[in-house]
C-alpha cells in the first residue's frame, strides 16, 4: 500500500483481518469513523490498546443506524456491559457481523439477540409485539398486532411452547429468503 499508518501495528491489523470480515483498508476507515464520533475521546494511536468506550447515544446517531428502529438493541447486543457502550473492538465487531459477507449462522445468532428485548433467551409474544410496534410505529390496531404475533409464532414455533427459542428462530430464519439481503449495513 505504501502509506505508513501509525494507528495500529501490523500485527493488530492482521488480527483484525482474521477476526472480522474486513480488510485492512476498511478497518482503518472504520477507525476514522469511530474517531469522528468523538474526536476528543478517541485516541488516534491504538497501538497500546486504549480502553475507550463510546456511549450509546453517540453511536446511535450515526447515519447508518439513525433510521433503524432497532438501533438501540443492535448497539446493546454488541456491547459488553449490555448498556450500549462500545469499545472500538465492539464497534468493528458490530459492523463485521452486519457486513455483506458475514455468514448466515453468525447473523442469525445476533439477530436473535437483537429481537430479544427482555433478554430471556426466548422470543416471546412481548418481544414480538415490541418488534412489530417498532417496525410499524404503532400504526397497526392492537388486534392486528395480536393476530400477526400469533401467526408468526405459529409459523416458527416447533416445540410448542408458544414462544421462539433459538432453535426455532434459526430454523425459521435460514428459510426466510430476505434475511441475508436485508440484514446488512454498508459502511
Amino acid at each position: 500500500m505504501g502509506n505508513k499508518q501509525t494507528i495500529f501495528t501490523d500485527e493488530q491489523l492482521d488480527a483484525y483481518q482474521d477476526c472480522t470480515y474486513f480488510t485492512r483498508k476498511e478497518i482503518l476507515r472504520l477507525h476514522g469513523r469511530y474517531h469522528e464520533l468523538a474526536p476528543h475521546l478517541v485516541p488516534m494511536d491504538y497501538t497500546k490498546e486504549p480502553d475507550c468506550k463510546l456511549p450509546l447515544a453517540l453511536i446511535v446517531n450515526m447515519p447508518e443506524l439513525n433510521e433503524n428502529p432497532f438501533r438501540n438493541r443492535i448497539v446493546e447486543s454488541f456491547s459488553e456491559d449490555g448498556l450500549g457502550n462500545l469499545s472500538f473492538n465492539d464497534f468493528v465487531d458490530m459492523f463485521s457481523v452486519l457486513s455483506e459477507t458475514a455468514s448466515r449462522e453468525l447473523k442469525a445468532i445476533y439477530a436473535f439477540k437483537i429481537y430479544d428485548f427482555n433478554v430471556d433467551n426466548f422470543l416471546c409474544k412481548e418481544d414480538l409485539e415490541k418488534t412489530l410496534n417498532r417496525l410499524t410505529k404503532e400504526e397497526l390496531t392492537s388486534e392486528e398486532v395480536q393476530l400477526v404475533c400469533e401467526k408468526t409464532i405459529e409459523e416458527a414455533d416447533l416445540d410448542g411452547d408458544h414462544k421462539l427459542s433459538y432453535a426455532d428462530f434459526e430454523n425459521m430464519i435460514t428459510r426466510a429468503p430476505d434475511f441475508l439481503s436485508t440484514f446488512h449495513i454498508r459502511i
Partner: protein
C-alpha cells in the same frame, strides 16, 4: 453481561419457564453457544470458572462449572474447524482464540505449518484482490446511494440493469473480435480479403442505396433513425460483411463460419451467465417450504432493510411494511372466504374467468394482427419510395414500433382491470398479470418478425426463384437488421421521452397544483415489474438482432448506460417507491426468469433464420451457401477424416439417444434424492418438536426434584428480578396449578422413575 438490580447485586441472566428461574437451562450445551457477551476471559480455566459466578448462587455451582470447562474444551476442539471470524464472541476473545490456534500450529509438523501459512496468505491475497475488484465495479457509489434511499427492492432493479450492461458489452466484444477485427486488421498484416463476387445471376443484384447528389439535412436524420441510406452499407448491418475468407499469411480465416459460431456462442454465453446468476436465488426459492409458507415471519424478522439511511425512505419502508402486513392479513381472510365458497358461486366464478380469458386472448389476437398489418404497411411504404413528407416518412418507417409500444402501453392497464373481476388471491393476481404482460411484450417481437418473413418469402407469382423475394428485398437480412435497429432506437426514445415529458410535468403538477385531479393522479410510482419488462424487451431485441446487425450490442450497451442515469434521476426526483413493495429476494429470481424467457423466445427466430430461410445471394458472408447453417456441414466435410468421423459419431442417433437416456437417469436420481431429503427434513423437524418437549418436561421434573418440599405450597417465590421481569407475572398465575398438580401426583424421590416420556407439559 452483568445486570444489576436496585441493590447493586449482580443479577443472573438465566432462561425462564413461566416465572420460574431455571438454572439448568443455562447449562445446556445449546444455550452455551448463545452466551451473551461478557468481560473477556483468558484461556485460564480458573478465570473461566469465575466468570460464571452467576451460577454460583445456586446449588449446581461447582459441578456445573466443571462440566462447563470440560464442555468448552471440547467446544474449542470443534470450533477449530470454523474460522475465527464466524464465532459469536467478543473481539478480544476471538483474538485470543486466534493466538491460541497460531500457537497450536507451531506444534504441528513443518509441512502442515507451511501449508497452513500459504493457505492463510492466499486467502489474504484473494480478499485484497476481491476488494480491489469491487472498487472497480461500475456504479458502486450510485447503487449504494439508491440502496440507502429506497431499499433493496429497487436496488435489485439497478443491479439487474448493470448486469445487462456487462452482458451486452461482452457480446459486443465477442462479435467484434471474431467478426470485425479480422476484416479491420487484414490490410495491416498482409492479409488478403476475398470478397464474394456477384455471379451475374439475378439473385445477386444489390442496388446501392446510398443517396446521391445533394442530400438534404433531414434525410441524414431519417437515415440515422432508420438505419437506411448512408448507414446501410457500413459495419452496422449484415450486408456489409460480403467477405468470403480472410487469408492471413499463416492461415485461412473462414469468416462465414466465425459469424455463425459467434452467434451460437453469444446465445450460450448469455444462457450460462444468467443461469449462474440465478442459481443462488433458485436454491433459496427451493428451500422455501411450500406448505409452511412463512410470510409473516419473513416480514417481521427480515422485513426491515437495515441499510436504509434516509428519513423519507425509512417512512416509506415503514408504510410499505404496514401495507404488506395488512395485505397478508387480508389474504388470510380471503383464503377463508374461498374455502367457504358454495358450489354455485364456484361455477359462477369459473364461468366469469373463462369469459375473461377468452376476452384476453381476443385482445392479444387483435394486437398481434395490428402489428402484422402495421409491418406490412410499413414495408410497402418503404419499398414504394413515395417521398411525401419528412415526418410522414418517419412515421411509416416507425409504424411497427409505434404500434408495438401502444399495444404494450394499453394491454397492462386492461389486464389490471380484468384481474379485479377474476377474484384470485392478491399474490396470485400480481403474478398472473405479470405473466400476461410478459407474454404480450415478448411475443409482439415474434409477431413482427413473422410478418417480416412472410413478406420476404412471398413472391408475386408462385414460389420465389431465389428462395426469397429478390426484387423487393435484395438483402433481406439487412432489412431485418434495420427493423431491429429501429425498435431499439425507438425504445430508447420512448423511455427518455416518457421520463422528460410525462414524469417531470406530473411531479410539477402534483406538487404545485391543488386540484383534485392532480391529487388523485398522485406522484409517479417506480413500478419495478413494468420497468423490468421494458429492459428485458430491449434485451430480447438485442439478442435477436445481433445476427443481423452486429453492432447492436454496442448500441444496447450505450442505451442501457444512459437508461441507468435517466432512471436514477427520475427515481430521485420524481418518484416515490411503489406502495406495493417488491421483495428483493424473489425479485432477483423473477428478473432472471423473465430474462430467460426472453432468451428462449429470442433463440427461436434466430435459429429459424439461420436454418430455414434462404440467405440472400447479394450480400453478407453466406453468399455461397443456400442457408446460413450450410457453412458448418461444408467445413466439417473439409476437416481431416479422423475428426470428421468423430463429429459424425457425436451427431449420430446412437450418441444422442444414449445421452438422452443418461440425462433422464441422472434427473430421476436427483429428483429421488430431493424427495428423500425432504422426508428426512420432515422427520427431523418432528424430532425437534418432540425433543423440545422432552427437554422441557425433564427440566421441570429436575427442578421439582431440587426444590425443598416447603416451597411447593406457596406460589413461586420472588426471585431477584430486573424491571423487565414484571411481565413474568403473567406466567405466575399458572404456576400454582402447575405446582399442585405435580405435588399431588408424584413422590419427589420416585417421580423421575415414573415419568412418562411424552406427557404434555405446557407452560
Amino acid at each position: 453481561m452483568q445486570r444489576v438490580d436496585v441493590t447493586g447485586e449482580p443479577v443472573p441472566i438465566t432462561a425462564r419457564i413461566g416465572s420460574l428461574v431455571n438454572p439448568l437451562l443455562d447449562q445446556l450445551p445449546s444455550y452455551q453457544s448463545l452466551l451473551y457477551r461478557r468481560k473477556s476471559s483468558t484461556s485460564k480455566p480458573k478465570r473461566r470458572g469465575s466468570s460464571r459466578n452467576r451460577l454460583g448462587s445456586f446449588g449446581s455451582g461447582k459441578s456445573g462449572v466443571n462440566t462447563i470447562t470440560k464442555y468448552e474444551e471440547r467446544q474449542n476442539g470443534q470450533t477449530l474447524q470454523r474460522p475465527v471470524r464466524e464465532l459469536p464472541r467478543t473481539m478480544a476473545e476471538k483474538r485470543t482464540d486466534r493466538d491460541q490456534r497460531l500457537k497450536q500450529d507451531q506444534k504441528l509438523s513443518r509441512w502442515t505449518q507451511r501449508r497452513r501459512s500459504t493457505h492463510r496468505y492466499l486467502k489474504r491475497l484473494r480478499e485484497d484482490a476481491q476488494e480491489r475488484l469491487n472498487s472497480l465495479v461500475l456504479w458502486r457509489g450510485d447503487i449504494h446511494l439508491i440502496e440507502g434511499m429506497f431499499g433493496t427492492g429497487i436496488l435489485s432493479y439497478f443491479s439487474f440493469l448493470r448486469f445487462l450492461v456487462m452482458l451486452n458489452l461482452l457480446i459486443f466484444l465477442l462479435m467484434f473480435s471474431f467478426v470485425m477485427l479480422p476484416i479491420i486488421i487484414a490490410p495491416h498484416t498482409e492479409g488478403n480479403i476475398t470478397y464474394n463476387q456477384a455471379d451475374g445471376s439475378k439473385c445477386s443484384v444489390y442496388p446501392n442505396s446510398a443517396r446521391r447528389g445533394l442530400v438534404i439535412f433531414h434525410e441524414h436524420i431519417t437515415d440515422l433513425l432508420s438505419g437506411g441510406g448512408f448507414l446501410e452499407q457500413t459495419y452496422l448491418f449484415y450486408g456489409y460483411y460480403k467477405v468470403d475468407a480472410v487469408r492471413f499469411p499463416w492461415f485461412n480465416y473462414n469468416l462465414a463460419l466465425a459469424y455463425l459460431l459467434v452467434t451460437i456462442a453469444y446465445i450460450l454465453l448469455s444462457l450460462i451467465w444468467i443461469v449462474k446468476r440465478s442459481a443462488s436465488g433458485f436454491k433459496r426459492n427451493l428451500i422455501q417450504d411450500v406448505d409452511r409458507f412463512q410470510s409473516f415471519c419473513n416480514k417481521v424478522f427480515a422485513g426491515w432493510d437495515f441499510c436504509i439511511t434516509n428519513e423519507n425512505a425509512g417512512k416509506l419502508k415503514r408504510s410499505s411494511l404496514l401495507y404488506e402486513l395488512k395485505v397478508n392479513l387480508e389474504e388470510e381472510r380471503i383464503k377463508q372466504k374461498i374455502a367457504d365458497r358454495s358450489r354455485t358461486e364456484k361455477c359462477r366464478i369459473y364461468a366469469i374467468r373463462l369469459i375473461l380469458n377468452i376476452f384476453v386472448i381476443a385482445v392479444l389476437a387483435a394486437c398481434f394482427y395490428s402489428i402484422y398489418w402495421a409491418t406490412i404497411f410499413s414495408q410497402k411504404a418503404q419499398l414504394d419510395q413515395k417521398k411525401e413528407n419528412f415526418m410522414v416518412d418517419l412515421i411509416y418507417e416507425y409504424l411497427p414500433s409505434i404500434v408495438i409500444t401502444l399495444a404494450n402501453f394499453i394491454t397492462p392497464l386492461l389486464f389490471c382491470l380484468i384481474i379485479n373481476f377474476e377474484d384470485y388471491s392478491p399474490a396470485f393476481e400480481i403474478r398472473f398479470t405479470l405473466m400476461r404482460c410478459v407474454f404480450m411484450r415478448l411475443t409482439s417481437i415474434g409477431v413482427l418478425l413473422f410478418s417480416l418473413w412472410s413478406q420476404i418469402t412471398k413472391c408475386k407469382d408462385g414460389p420465389c426463384d431465389c428462395g426469397y423475394n429478390h426484387l423487393l428485398y435484395s438483402c433481406w437480412e439487412t432489412r431485418v437488421g434495420q427493423e431491429m435497429y429501429k425498435l431499439t432506437v425507438f425504445d430508447f426514445i420512448i423511455i427518455a421521452a416518457v421520463t422528460i415529458f410525462v414524469e417531470f410535468p406530473r411531479k410539477l403538477i402534483v406538487n404545485y397544483c391543488n386540484c383534485r385531479l392532480a391529487q388523485w393522479w398522485g406522484q409517479q410510482e417506480f413500478a419495478i415489474p413494468q420497468n423490468v419488462l421494458e429492459i428485458v424487451y430491449g434485451q430480447t431485441i438485442c439478442w435477436i438482432g445481433t445476427f443481423y446487425c452486429p453492432l447492436l450490442p454496442a448500441i444496447c450497451t450505450i442505451k442501457y448506460f444512459f437508461i441507468f442515469y435517466i432512471k436514477k434521476v427520475s427515481l430521485m426526483n420524481n418518484c416515490r417507491p411503489a406502495t406495493r413493495p417488491f421483495r428483493a429476494s424473489s425479485s432477483n429470481f423473477f428478473f432472471l426468469v423473465v430474462l430467460l424467457i426472453g432468451l428462449a423466445l429470442a433463440c427461436l427466430p434466430v435459429l429459424v433464420g439461420i436454418a430455414q430461410i434462404n440467405c440472400s445471394q447479394a450480400c453478407g458472408p453466406f453468399v455461397n451457401y443456400t442457408v446460413s447453417w450450410e457453412v458448418v456441414p461444408r467445413t466439417v466435410s473439409e476437416l481431416p477424416i479422423g475428426i470428421r468421423s468423430l463429429l459424425f459419431a457425436l451427431a449420430s442417433e446412437a450418441c444422442a439417444v444414449s445421452l438422452f437416456v443418461i440425462t433422464c437417469l441422472v434427473m430421476f436420481y436427483v429428483i429421488a434424492l430431493a424427495g428423500a431429503h425432504k422426508r428426512v427434513i420432515n422427520q427431523l423437524r418432528e424430532q425437534l418438536v418432540l425433543e423440545g418437549r422432552d427437554k422441557r418436561f425433564l427440566i421441570e421434573k429436575l427442578c421439582q426434584a431440587q426444590k425443598p418440599p416447603t416451597v411447593w405450597s406457596s406460589p413461586s417465590q420472588p426471585q431477584p428480578r430486573t424491571s423487565r421481569d414484571s411481565r413474568g407475572s403473567r406466567g405466575s398465575s399458572r404456576s400454582p396449578s402447575y405446582h399442585t398438580s405435580f405435588s399431588s401426583n408424584y413422590n419427589d424421590a420416585m417421580f423421575l422413575a415414573h415419568a412418562p416420556p411424552h406427557s404434555s407439559t405446557h407452560v
